[in-house]
Amino acid sequence: MELRKNYFADERKDDLNEIGHSLQRSDVPNHVTGRTAFFADRTFPNLLHLKMVRSPHHHARIRSIDLSEAERHPGVVRILTSKDVPQNLYTILILIQVGPPDEHVLAEGKVRWKGEAVVAVLADSERAANEAAAKVKVDYEVLPAVFDMLEALKPGAPLVNEHHGQNYYRYDSGASRKVRFGDVEKGFAEADFVLEETYHSSPIEQAPTETTGCIVAPEGNDRFTCYTNTQAMFFTLDNASIILQMPGHKLHMVGGTAGGGFGGKVDVTVEPIAILAARLTGRPVSFIYSREEEMQISSPRAAETITIKDGVMKDGRIVARQVTGYTDAGAYSRHSPYGAQKGAAHYPGPYTIPNVWVDTWCVYTNRTPSSAMRGFGVTIADFALEVQMDKLARLIGMDPLEFRFINAYRDGDMKAHRQPTEGAALIECMQEASIAAGWPVAERFMKMSSKRREA
C-alpha cells in the first residue's frame, strides 16, 4: 500500500501509526478455522422452530383466519396471530421520532404486500412447522394493488397504508423533502442549453450469504437472551422493548457477528416475534429466514425514479439544477423516509451550482418494503447524477472529466442546503484519477486546488 503525502501536506501531522500499514482483521483467525460463532452456531435442547405464514396477495383484506387444523398437527406447540402481540403496531424509526407507526408485526385486518407476515407457527421441528403452516387457512378479499410510484401518487389510486392516509410520507416540510437555493427558473432562462432526463432503478436485494435470523433462549424470571445477526442492535433492542411492552433490561441481545448484511439486516423483523414466542411457550425459539424469504421478504434497496433538469453554459458551468426524486418505500416506511431525505441532502452532488431546486418523495406502493442498503438514498442518486453529467458534457462537446473539474465544489463554497463546503478534496481525487486512468486533462485542471478558486 502506498500513502501519498503530496496533497495537503501542510495540514497533516506526519505521526500516523496505523494509516498506510496492512492490519489483520481481528476476527479472521476464527473465520479460517470455522470457530467464529454466528448466531445459529448454537444448539439448544427443546428448540422450537418458527415458520411464518405469509400473504400470497399484494393487497387484501383478511376476512378470517382458521387455525383449527394447523393447531392439531403433530409437533405444533403454539400458533401466534396479531392478537398475541402486546404492541402490534410499530415503526422502526419511531426511536428518532420518525413516525407514525405504520406496520404490524403480524398482519391485522389487511395485508399490504405479497409476503407480509400473517401467522407464526411454532413446532418441534422445521418439518412439522412447514406441514402445519400449510394447514393454516386464511380467507382473503383481494383488493386492487398499486406497484408504480407515479401511479400511486395519482388521485384515485388504491390507498396502500391507512396509517399515512395518502400514498406518500408527509414530512414536516410537506409532501416532500425540499431544497431551495437561488432561482432555478432564472438559471434555466439564462442557460445556453437545458437537458431534462429521467432515471429509473429497480429494487436490489443485499443477498448476504447468511440469512436474517435469531435464536431466543428464555433465561427465567421473564428474561430472554436473543442471539441475532442484526446490524442494528439497539434499534432491535428498543423496538423489541416497545413491541413486547417489556423493559429493555429483560432483553439481552447478543450479536455483532453477521454473515454479511449490507443494510439487509437493519430492520427489526425476526427478533420481537421470536422473543414473544419464547415467552409464551417457555422454550427456546429459532426463527431463521429461508433463502427464498431472504430474497423475497427481507427489505431490498428501494426502487427510485429520478428526474434531473439542468441548465448548462457552453463554457461548462452548470447554472441551474432541478431534481425530483421518488423513493419506493413499498408498503411500509422502515428506513425509507430517511433514505428519501438523504437523497435531498445529497443533491445536487459534489458540484457547486448557484440555483438548485430539489423535491424528494417517499412513496408507498404494494411492493416489498424497502430499506437500507449500502449508501441508500445516495447510490442511485449518484448513478443518475453522473450519467446526467456525462450527457451534459456530450451536449456541449466537452471532455466529461474536464466538465466535472469546472463544476467541482471547493472549500468555502456554499452548498445548496446551506452547509459551507469543507475538506472537499474532489479536485485532487480527480487529478489522481486522471493520472491513474490515463485520461489526461488540460494543464489548468491539473493546477486546480480544492482549497481555493483560481483568480
Binding site: 403433530p74 412447514n130 403452516a133 429461508s290
Partner: protein, 265 residues
C-alpha cells in the same frame, strides 16, 4: 410426519416402495432434498437404490451406456466421454457435479437440466428396469410415469468427432443458472449440413427440439448466410420460461444470437 429414507439394494424393491403416494425417489439429492429443505411436505419418504451397477459407465465402440446414478463429475472424468464432457461440466459447481446424477437431470425442471438438453440432442434412449423409451417421448411424459417406474440408465451413440456442439448461457461467470442452453449434433458432408439435431433448454418447461431450425439447416452450408433461415425459425414452438434469471421475452430474443454463435464456432 417426519421424513424417512429407505435404501434398497435392488431397483425392483425400490420400485415397490415408490408405489406409496407420499414417496419420492432420491438420486443425488439436488432436487429432492432441496425440495424438503424448502418446505415441500408433499412427500415424507425418500427411496434410494444402492445397486452399484446404476453408477457404472460403459462405452463399447460408439455406444455409450450411463447408469442413472452416475454423477456429472464421473462423466467429466471418463476418458471415452470427452466429447460430451462440456455438457456435464456446465452443471453447477464442483460440489453439485459430485452429487447431481444423470437420472436426476432428466427430471430437473427448467432452468435446470443442462445435461438432459445434451441427451436430447444426442437422441438418447432412456432405460427402465422393464423397458426403454426414446428421450423425446420420455421428456413429454416425465411427470406421468407410473408410480414405481425407475430410470436405470441412458444410452446413446457417441457423436462423430467435431459434430457435438454445446452452449450454456448464464449471467454469472464462470457458472450460473442457465439463461438458455443449446446442444446440437450437426453432421456435414461435401460442404453442406447433412444432419442436424438441435435441443434447447429454458425455451420451455423442459428440454425441447428446434425442429423448424433443424429442417431449415438441411443441405445448407454452415455459414452466416447458410444458417440465416434456421435462425429465423429457431423460436418456432418455444414457450420460454420467465424466472429470476431472465424473462421469457429476453430468452426468446437472445436464442438466435446464441444459436448462431454455436453453429458458426
Amino acid at each position: 410426519m417426519g421424513l424417512t429414507l429407505q435404501s434398497f439394494p435392488a431397483v425392483a424393491e425400490a420400485g415397490a416402495a415408490l408405489t406409496a403416494a407420499d414417496s419420492r425417489y432420491l438420486g443425488g439429492g439436488t432436487l429432492a432434498v432441496r425440495a424438503t429443505n424448502e418446505g415441500d411436505v408433499s412427500f415424507s419418504t425418500l427411496v434410494r437404490v444402492t445397486d452399484p451397477t446404476l453408477g457404472e459407465i460403459s462405452v463399447n465402440g460408439s455406444q455409450a451406456h450411463i447408469g442413472a446414478s452416475v454423477t456429472m463429475s464421473a462423466i467429466t472424468r471418463h476418458p471415452d466421454l470427452a466429447a460430451i464432457a462440456p455438457a456435464a461440466r456446465a452443471v453447477g459447481g464442483p460440489a453439485v457435479r459430485n452429487m447431481a446424477t444423470v437420472g436426476g437431470n432428466l427430471f430437473a425442471p427448467a432452468p435446470y437440466g443442462d445435461f438432459a438438453v445434451a441427451l436430447l440432442a444426442l437422441d438418447a434412449t432412456v432405460h427402465f428396469s422393464d423397458g426403454t423409451q426414446p428421450i423425446e417421448a420420455f421428456l413429454a411424459i416425465r411427470e406421468m410415469l407410473p408410480r414405481g417406474r425407475i430410470v436405470t440408465a441412458v444410452s446413446f451413440t457417441l457423436p462423430p468427432p467435431g459434430t457435438f456442439r454445446f452452449r450454456k448461457v448464464s449471467r454469472v461467470k464462470p457458472k450460473g443458472v442457465s439463461v438458455l442452453t443449446i446442444a446440437a449434433v450437426i453432421g456435414e458432408k461435401d460442404g453442406a449440413i447433412s444432419s442436424a439435431r438441435i435441443a434447447l433448454g429454458c425455451l420451455a418447461d423442459r428440454p425441447m427440439r428446434a425442429k423448424a431450425a433443424e429442417r431449415a439447416l438441411a443441405g445448407k452450408p454452415r455459414t452466416s448466410q447458410g444458417i440465416a433461415d434456421a435462425l429465423k425459425v429457431s423460436g418456432d414452438g418455444t414457450s420460454p420460461i420467465t424466472d429470476a434469471i431472465a424473462s421469457g421475452w429476453y430468452r426468446a430474443e437472445v436464442l438466435p444470437v446464441h444459436l448462431k454463435r454455436l453453429l458458426l464456432e
